[in-house]
Amino acid sequence: MTAHEIVLLGGPDSGKTHYAGQLYGRLQRRPGRLRLRPGEATPTDLTALQEVLSCLENGRAAQHTPVSTWTEVQLPLIDNRGRLMDLSWPDYGGEALRDVLADRVVPPSWQARLTAAHGWVMLIRINSEVVFPATLERIPQKADAKPSLNNVRATTWDSNARWVELLQMLLHVARIDTVQRVRRPRLAVLLSCYDELDAGSQDPGEVLRQRLPLVSAFLASTWSAGQMTIWGLSSLGRALVKDASDTDFMQDGPEYQGWIVPPGGGVSNPDLSLPLTWLLGTE
């Protein structure tokens, strides 16, 4: 049996907790390629998932995970060829990731995880990313439009630059050389809340290329082909709210909601554990 750790990277409100909750529901009640090991199926400690599971059962969205939280769920897994593995799934407040950029320091606990991890999962919610359009050709060419020196602009970074800087920092801290293309860790990019994008069965890689071109170029030129994949993820399949129940969602139970669009596009698949299967190299 091998123990696998993954690192989950996602900013605030990118859907980390919902994905964790839905993933657990899938593994336990409606398994695909990966399932929980019979006999020891229920993880010993479910505290981390308790709140999200009960919210989803009632057709409500889960609360925001507090910043200081760092919890892990140990999932004993078995794949469809009978191989055993232990997966530790982390959950934390997404602000922690934003602080990495602001403080330019990666906490030592993260550094250890990043170095040891078998794979990285990156959650990007495209619709909440700030992207500026190209405007160079539309700047008025007037002599009196000359800016003065003390007119310093407060800068909001383009999301493209934020993600690239973050990945560069994490790669550096994990002591991964990028002059050669990266082979380990594998990287699964999940475009979360894919239902917001109306992308249908479009290739998620293409969606990322259109919406965050610099990130897409960076990933393609940093990771080896085949060691990085881009998926479209809708953990819930629809938008839920925190203070009202969605009856449709409640009726069947959360394990019948949510889907994932595989790399390259195509029909959406209800097996939310597919990126993990790929990440752990068991496909």
């Binding site: 700047i139 060419q141 000359k146 602009r153 909001t156 610099l214 170029a217 030129s221």
Partner: protein, 320 residues
């Protein structure tokens, strides 16, 4: 074991004067309790483990040691008079990468100076109704001994990886340098001329089209003539910026003549912000030429003397 003063701002134990002005550390309240420093050093080691060796701002010479050992790096010297569009040319290339374009047939593979790039790009953006977008402001004329370097890492599909360092210096440096090679405030221009692997020299078409074209022609020509002494066969691309203005024919011919006389193998490009792709083309042209280092010249044994015993220079050399 080494000791430190309990006052963290005091370096008396490093041989400096007491921070509070006492003649001897024993007279000072803090100095009475010199702390063992071993643990302190260990703590500061731990603090730096999760840090990265770049801040995102433009790189200085001290930063190069962190970057250049990892791969082949290309230093591009961007030269030209003040307000000719050097910084806009660079910003245009970053904005193009942001839109997913490729530069020199290579994909974006990271940058150590994203904060500097974003700082420049912010000027061109509509993020606040009260501040219309403008071109990046005049690069400040600092007393620095080297220009700020903007960094791009590029990778071609074949896997070739290059660190591209673009100099972003103020135009006055180059104007001063073209007048007086030894000018004390042109140290940055001398650094650029010495260390660049290739040059982008820009000339402002709008100024060459204006009635004041004489001054512009003079500035550009003297820069070309100065650079001609230093270029030593390195590639150069001459960029006619703001090319939506058509410069007057004869000043343009005069500049071309100077180029032909002083810079062998010069290539020309035109760029204008109304076609942002033209900015990328100009840089790509130069990167194509500098992507691979020039071949080394064949080593020829020098003739050191005419002593008969030192005459043997290999067999069959001259017979072919």
């Amino acid at each position: 074991m080494s000791f430190r003063c309990a006052n963290s701002g005091c370096y008396v134990t490093d041989g400096e004067a007491c921070a509070l002005g006492h003649a001897s550390s024993t007279e000072c309240d803090f100095g009475a309790a010199l702390h063992a420093a071993a643990e302190h050093a260990d703590a500061s080691m731990r603090d730096t483990t999760g840090r990265v060796p770049w801040s995102g701002a433009a790189l200085g010479l001290a930063d190069l040691g962190q970057l250049t050992p990892r791969a082949r790096s290309i230093v591009i010297g961007v030269m030209g008079p003040h307000d000719a569009g050097k910084t806009t040319l660079l910003t245009g290339n970053y904005l193009a990468l942001l839109q997913g374009h490729r530069v020199a047939n290579a994909g974006f593979s990271g940058s150590r100076t994203l904060a500097a790039w974003e700082g420049l790009a912010a000027w061109t953006r509509f993020d606040d109704a009260t501040r219309p977008p403008t071109f990046p402001p005049h690069t400040p004329r600092a007393a620095a001994r080297s220009p700020g370097l903007l960094h791009l890492a590029l990778r071609r599909d074949s896997g070739e990886f290059r660190d591209v360092l673009l100099t972003d210096g103020p135009g006055e440096w180059f104007t001063r340098w073209s007048i007086n090679e030894a000018a004390p405030d042109a140290e940055g221009a001398r650094w650029t001329a010495r260390h660049a692997d290739g040059f982008l020299v820009v000339a402002d078409c709008s100024r060459l089209a204006s009635p004041d074209y004489g001054t512009a022609r003079q500035a550009t020509r003297s820069l070309i003539e100065r650079l001609g002494n230093h270029i030593a066969g390195r590639p150069m691309v001459f960029v006619w910026t703001k090319s939506d203005h058509t410069p007057q024919e004869r000043p343009r011919a005069a500049i071309r003549e100077a180029l032909g006389a002083h810079i062998p193998n010069v290539r020309e490009a035109e760029s204008t912000v109304s076609r942002p792709n033209s900015l990328v083309t100009a840089l790509s042209l130069l990167l194509e030429d500098t992507w691979n280092p020039p071949y080394a010249r064949r080593v020829v044994d020098p003739v050191l003397g005419n002593d008969g015993f030192a005459r043997f220079r290999g067999r069959g050399h001259d017979r072919t």
